[in-house]
Structure formats: structure tokens, C-alpha cells
Symmetry: C2
Subunit: 278 residues, 2 copies
């Protein structure tokens, strides 16, 4: 077994939600951390790793935009499988540090933002400090001799030997991130799948153009679970639409509908048919 | 003149693109930096500042999601005016540091990602280090005695006394961020405006539901410049759509169309009619 070929890339460092998603996907040991989403996707594209795991929606560490833009413009990889991870934040300290002694709280700005009510109630006068990831914050606190705290994942707390003194401290009770497993091929027919596509309409800004595409979906009775428009790179005023559709691109109905969409768009890229998270 | 009442909040620290947008919007001196987008919006909502400036699309420091979600669910503020800022990254060092001596490069992960080709060509073996913002990176390098470099804005380089040794080092030549001025009221009638709305359809996932809304826009001949769907918070599987429409909500056609949209949706919030950037 070729170790390199079977390795799986994820958005690091260790202890991130991306690693959590990777561990949920596989019990393989050869996980490789990359510093950015772009690095993960390029490693898959160039065959340096077999698969990659990247956040695609609502993430703490990155944005869906970077993943989607890269997939449309920069790499040729396919979505294979969806993984949904509940985002749960915990207050982590070195063993024996009581909450009233905490002098600083470190975390990623979005994680700090998601725990504002907790911070306001329990640590109202303690300064917060931004880190580049929740895992980075946990590492920093674990290496310090100061009475500091980090907001991070349960996994990162375990990795760096910190103690969890408050659990589930995020404001929203429902808070999830969607990750995608990507590879050189998409999912095989047979499982319950969704298909993501990206396209540009022939005329932009006109509601009638997008309306035509939704008309196609209505005619073929294909459900859409997501729609996003984004400015096309390099072309000011040009838009690209991203749609998530129920079904596999090789199933008859969706295949026909995609054929018709192709005829009504100036650009179409199928980002992959992927097994849904259940 | 009440100083507090006339102050304008922005996403800090000093030297960010948000501050650049604020300076482009006003020559007032009482600009107030806030640590997060949520803090800016709440300060406007609670009357602590008169107006706020927040990124809404394609930003380096924050995500559109946080701004839009806050505006729908958490605060009652209105979009007033759009400001578009070209995102230009520069390589900044302490005076006299030559490029071949640079040992580390600091910046926000997204800025580093946007300058990958430059880094690959000019600083191929130099480690990169993440900061919570480009301005934070510039501050750090300015305070250090090491031969470090930061990727940041021209403004932050000036603020912290660093030297620009390479300019416009981003990979994409067109790279912009849209900011919004928000306040308690939206723009008055008379200027060229767009209107942002958020709504939920009565049945989710059905293409026919969104299709109805686009049908209304086609009937009243209202151009749409953006569409985004996002999961509704607390309601798994429920979606909220964000639309940018040409026109002011008090203009006859748009007013009628919005009335019809209200009848076909289970939830509708008008986020404001705002003067477009020209």
C-alpha cells in the first residue's frame, strides 16, 4: 500500500474542526495537515494526497468562498462526500486554573464571536486575544506559564493536555459546519447523493436568466437545497451561481436537466455528486 | 455637536480595510474601532455610535455571513450606503530590511492565500505566520527587532512606519471588498439605490417556491444583482434567501413587488435601501 497515495489532507493545524471531520470520515492514520484550504485542494489535484477534507459552509476556520472559487477556477477535483460536524466550543485552561484567575482568553475571532454571551456573563472584564485558529489558541495556552484560557474544540483540549472547565459555551445551540471530502472522482451511483454545480447565465443581473434555470429544475422536478451567487473573478459585474441539487448527475432526470441547463448557460461546471450526510 | 452621537464605528484595529472604507466615506475624526462585526452592529443598534461600517462581501477580515445574519436576527439597523474598496496587498518591512534577509512573513491567512504566487516566486522558503488581521501583522513586524515582513494595506504601513518594498502583490488583479454604511435609517429617496431583502419561502427545498419570487421580479421588471441562500439559524433544513434588488423600496414598482413578495413568503425583512457605489 502506497502511503502517500492513501493519505488524506485536511485544513490544519491539529485539533481543528477539519481534523475532527477527517477523524469522523476515516480511521486511517495518514492524515496530513495543510495550512490553507487552497493547499489541501491543490495537493489533491496534483495527486500528492489521495483525498482532501475542506470546510464548505458556515466554517470557523475558513470560508465556503475559498473552497468554491478554487474548485471552479483553479483545480480539477470532485466533491465525494458531505460530513457535518456540530460546532461545540469549550473553555480550556491548564489544570488547576480557576475561572476567577483567568487574565486573557485566546481564540479565533469567529469562535470568540460565537461565545459572546458566555464571555459577557462569566469573564466580563477579561481581555480577548485573536488567534489564527482555535487550535492555535489552545496550543499557545498549553505552552504558557500565565493563567490564560482558550476557547477550542474538545479534541484540541485533549491533544494539548488542557482542562475543560466550561463545556458547550457557544450562544447558538444549533451550530454546524459542513465539510466535503474531495478526490479525483465523485461518488459512485447507488447512494443518496446531491450534486453541486456552478454556472454563469448568458445575460447577468436579469432575473429572467436565473428564472429560466429554476424553470428547468421545476420541469424535471429536481429539488434545490442551496443557491448562492458570487461575482465571477476577473469579470466585474459577471456572476456565477452555485446550486446544490438532489440526486446524482448520472441519474436520468438530473442528467437530462443538466443537459438543458448546459444549453441555457454560458459556462457550466459540475463540481461533483457526493454522498449526503445522514 | 454631540461627539458620541456623530461617531462612526468600524471593524478594527487601525489600518484595516474597514478603516480605509471609513476614511473614504467621511473626513470626520471620531472613528471608533470595534473588535468584531457584531460589536459594530450592536453599537449602532444601541445608539452608542451614529453609524457603522462593516464588510459585506469578499472581505479579508470578516464574512458576509456574520453581517447578514446579525442584520436579520439580532439587530435593527438599516443599510445606507455601499463602499467598494480595491484590496491591494503590499510587502512591508522595517526600513532597510532587504528581501533576501526576510525570515518570516506575517499576515491574515486570506491575505497570505491571495499572495501565494508572489510568495512562491520571491520568498519560496520563508515560513508564513498567521495573524488575526493584516493590521495586526503590520503592528507586530513594526514592534519587532527581527528581519520580518508583513503583508498589509498601504494605510497600515504608514500608520506603523513600515517601508513598502513590493506593491500590489496579490495574485488577482481585480480584488475588491464591498462595505456597507449602516445606521438607524436607510438612504433617502432620490439617489440611485439598491435594496437588500431577506426572506423564507413557505416550503423549503422546493425550486417552485423560489421560482415564484423570481417570477414576481420578472413581472415587475426588477433586476436582481445578488442571490444567496443560507440555513436559517435554529431551524435545520430551513433556508433564508438574501436578494439585492435594483431600486429604492419606496419607489412604486419595487414597493408593489415587495408587497407581492410579502404575500408569497413566510418571513420578509427589508435590510435597507442604500446608495450604490459609483
Amino acid at each position: 500500500m502506497n502511503k502517500e497515495k492513501d493519505s488524506i489532507g485536511y485544513l490544519g493545524p491539529q485539533g481543528t474542526f477539519s481534523q475532527q471531520a477527517a477523524l469522523q470520515y476515516t480511521d486511517q492514520k495518514n492524515l496530513v495537515a495543510f495550512p490553507t484550504i487552497a493547499d489541501v485542494l491543490e495537493a489533491v489535484d496534483q495527486g500528492k494526497v489521495h483525498k482532501g477534507i475542506v470546510p464548505i459552509e458556515n466554517s470557523i476556520e475558513g470560508t465556503v468562498n475559498m473552497t468554491l472559487d478554487m474548485m471552479v477556477f483553479d483545480v480539477d477535483v470532485k466533491l465525494q462526500k458531505e460530513i457535518v460536524i456540530p460546532i461545540e466550543h469549550h473553555l480550556l485552561v491548564q489544570k488547576g486554573t480557576p475561572i476567577e484567575k483567568i487574565q486573557k482568553v485566546f481564540s479565533h475571532p469567529q469562535a470568540l464571536g460565537q461565545c459572546r454571551k458566555f464571555l459577557h456573563q462569566y469573564l466580563p472584564h477579561v481581555p480577548v486575544v485573536f488567534s489564527s485558529s482555535t487550535a492555535e489558541a489552545v496550543k499557545l495556552v498549553s505552552e504558557s506559564t500565565q493563567p490564560w484560557a482558550a476557547i477550542g474544540t474538545a479534541l484540541s483540549g485533549e491533544l494539548y493536555g488542557l482542562q475543560r472547565i466550561y463545556s458547550h459555551i457557544q450562544d447558538q445551540t444549533v451550530n454546524e459546519t459542513r465539510f466535503m471530502v474531495v478526490g479525483k472522482k465523485d461518488a459512485p451511483l447507488g447512494k443518496t447523493c446531491k450534486t453541486s454545480i456552478a454556472f454563469s447565465t448568458k445575460e447577468t443581473h436579469k432575473p429572467g436568466e436565473l428564472y429560466k434555470i429554476l424553470n428547468i429544475l421545476a420541469l424535471w422536478e429536481i429539488n434545490m437545497t442551496k443557491i448562492v451567487s458570487r461575482p465571477a473573478k476577473n469579470k466585474l459585474g459577471q456572476y456565477i451561481f452555485f446550486l446544490d441539487l438532489e440526486g446524482h448527475r448520472e441519474e436520468d432526470l438530473l442528467q437530462e436537466a443538466l443537459g438543458m441547463i448546459q444549453r441555457k448557460t454560458s459556462f457550466l461546471k459540475i463540481l461533483g455528486s457526493y454522498e449526503i450526510f445522514q
